[in-house]
Amino acid sequence: MMKRSAIAFSAITATMATAGVVQATTLEDVKAKGFVQCGVSQGLPGFSNFDDKGNWTGVDVDVCRAVAAAVFGDATKVKYTPLSAKERFTALQSGEIDVLSRNTTWTQTRDTALGLNFTGVNYYDGQGFMVRKDLGVKSALELSGAAVCTNTGTTTELNLADYFRANSMDYKVVAFEKADEVVAAYDAGRCDVYTTDQSGLYAQRIKLKEPDAHMVLPEVISKEPLGPVTRHGDDEWFDIVKWTLNCMLNSEEMGVTSANVGDMAGSDNPGIKRLLGSEGDAGKNLGLDPGWCEAIVTQVGNYGESFAANLGPETPLKIERGLNALWTQGGIQYAPPIR
């Protein structure tokens, strides 16, 4: 009897000592389960949205699909976890998702104390205000005393407080957990103002009863660099997600599109050769196949294509490239070179 319990005891202590040491990397995990678990929003048109055909679409969703294309050569091997702003970081920290691609602002606190790594910026945004046109307000500086609807767990509620304080204005913040509830409450007249990232304002305005009765004020009160996120402690996976985005940007810069990628594979341009894997070790350096970037462009498209299909002038959101144009075209999208 005593002997048996002694064995049990040492077994327990042994597990205690070894647990936490043997830890598979995210890449191994993802390969073993056969798909990428991607954290997205609960429905933000243009970024991550569950469309009427039952598919997830948007520029953030394209990042998830691109990661799957890089890892598996198959952009469909993604499972999505819709998350509210408040839930997203816990989901990533706890390993419930592999990548968070959900209009998330890169901030110092999140990058450090929250244990997260931002892999780049897939949309340069800034916070704005939306009001009913009949309110007769032309500038955010006229908003003193207003009731403002927004989301909890966002940079938005912090910037809002900063802006009103800096301009010595009063306000009442009504902060909801879910974006749909913010829209519903604003539409029901609970607030004078709706504030979030400008892209979000354009996207959510579509959901209002009379979208044309509302306008976005000219002021942009913050910097909101939105990008995909991984957790601390796995540099290999961090690199993969980072270079997935860089592949999409570099492809656009070099004129490689989903339509011409087949022809481009035969190009003599050494840069394109490295990009598409016929020269150099880009794939090997990431622990992936040489054709990782080719798979991304073929199945998802380059950055410009993804932007045009989800946010551009041809879509209901009608957003110009603006800051998000490549650096060669007057924007600030600038990816480090593949070499």
């Binding site: 009897m1 319990s5 005891f9 327990i12 202590t13 597990t15 205690m16 647990a19 936490g20 702003a85 408040k86 970081f89 816990t90 920290q93 606190t109 999140r110 450090t112 104390a113 929250l114 244990g115 309110l135 908003l143 003193s144 005393g145 207003a146 009731a147 909890t152 767990g153 509620e157 912090l158 809002l160 407080a161 900063d162 009103f164 304080r165 009063d170 306000y171 009442k172 913040v173 009504v174 902060a175 909801f176 957990e177 879910k178 509830e181 519903a184 409450a185 029901a188 007249g189 609970r190 004078d192 957790r231 601390h232 402690g233």
Partner: protein, 396 residues
């Protein structure tokens, strides 16, 4: 026959490892040890994982500046206050909606519970429908229903419904004048405290006297007179040193005065109407548990109806009512956390929501939040157990 024999000559003491007493102790120690080890393991593992991912830990964040606004707060709070202060704001908001909710739910439950036993078919029918409908719709849906019902049925601030130009109702809340105590107001508060102490002494005296002489005393009316009279007297002497701050429409919204926001109203309605339905059933069961013979005996003794209800039926019914009532109160407090959905800033939405998200310190924040709910629940349980003991049958 043989058993007798066995008892007289007690069996030899078994060896220690076969002794049921020692065995029992041994296994309990073993299980306890395993539980403690498991706890340690979880703790170590968590600490190690947090460390490896470089996630901040510890409780230092409670002193960091919060930086976000909160729509209603019972204590002073600004964006420059700390996360610890935000925690306090959330906690007080939880306690406020829970306390008012418990009172309202009890009143609704009492009324509907009695109504359901009514001999009037219409009254008992309405009570039955209310109970069946409300108990079978998820609370979250009811919260949304009341929220949007409240929002949609009242006008925008510019077209507020005004009463006497002092009370205003619009979709930003119900505004009323705020009392602003002036110097000297303390005397009225002191008078109120004296009145309450006086009432307690008077009741004790009346109780003793009734036990001695059998003479009842009009405790209720005398209490009421003291409670209103003393502070009123103090107010007249000091010249009522109380000013009022009236709400006025400035720009988009009313400024000044007291405001009850729609989120609070909706949550309060939903919680008390929902819990009230469950309490009604408990009240009905309690009343039915007192046998009819008791009522008949009381009226045979010549007791009036309301006295029978108050002194004979209710005290006995309470013994059946209180234990399940306690768990309804606990439910109400815990359900108040559903407020996160409609932006009422209570503990879960402010602390386990916003603060957790801004600091990323999930483990600490959730531990504190669980500790708070546990404390509230245990306090309610202790109080109700005490009350239950007090109400229990005292045999003479």
């Amino acid at each position: 026959m043989s058993t007798n024999h066995d008892i007289s000559t007690a069996p030899a003491k078994p060896p220690i490892w076969n002794d049921p007493v020692y065995r029992g102790i041994f296994f309990q120690v073993l299980v306890l040890g395993a539980v403690v080890l498991f706890g340690l393991y979880i703790f170590n593992n968590t600490a190690e994982n947090l460390e490896r991912q470089g996630i901040a830990s510890g409780f230092g964040f409670m002193n960091t500046t919060a930086g976000f606004g909160i729509i209603t707060h019972l204590v002073e709070y600004t964006e420059e206050s700390s996360y610890g202060r935000a925690f306090l704001v959330g906690l007080l908001n939880t306690l406020l909606v829970s306390a008012v909710g418990v009172v309202l739910a009890t009143l609704i439950g009492l009324l509907v519970g009695i109504a359901r036993l009514s001999k009037n078919l219409l009254v008992s029918g309405i009570a039955t429908v209310y109970i069946e409908v409300i108990r079978n719709i998820p609370l979250l849906l009811q919260i949304f229903f009341w929220y949007f019902a409240v929002l949609r049925s009242v006008p925008a601030p510019k077209n507020s419904i005004a009463l006497l130009d002092t009370f205003f109702l619009n979709n930003r809340g119900l505004y009323s004048p705020a009392p602003m105590p002036q110097p000297g107001f303390m005397w009225i508060v002191i008078a109120l405290i004296v009145a309450i102490v006086g009432i307690i002494i008077m009741r004790n005296w009346a109780h003793k006297r009734q036990e001695r002489t059998g003479q009842p005393f009009h405790t209720f009316y005398v209490s009421l007179a003291i409670l209103i009279g003393l502070p009123a007297l103090a107010a007249i002497i000091t010249g009522l040193p109380l000013a009022w701050e009236y709400p006025v429409l400035k720009g988009f919204n009313f400024q000044g005065g007291l405001v009850m926001i729609p989120e609070f109203v909706a949550l309060l309605l939903a919680l008390s109407i929902y819990t009230g339905a469950f309490i009604a059933e408990i009240v009905r069961a309690g009343i039915l548990s007192v046998s009819h013979g008791q009522t008949e005996a009381a009226s045979a003794l010549g007791l009036r109806n309301n006295i029978t209800l108050r002194l004979v039926v209710l005290p006995q019914a309470l013994r059946v009512i209180i234990p399940p009532l306690t768990s309804q109160y606990l439910n109400l407090v815990k359900n108040s956390s559903l407020a996160a959905a409609i932006a009422y800033p209570e503990l879960v939405s402010i602390f386990a929501g916003t603060v957790l998200n801004q600091t990323g310190q999930a483990v600490e924040v959730i531990l504190i939040t669980m500790g708070v709910y546990l404390t509230i629940s245990l306090t309610i349980s202790l109080f109700m157990n005490w009350y239950n003991k007090k109400m229990a049958l005292v045999e003479r």
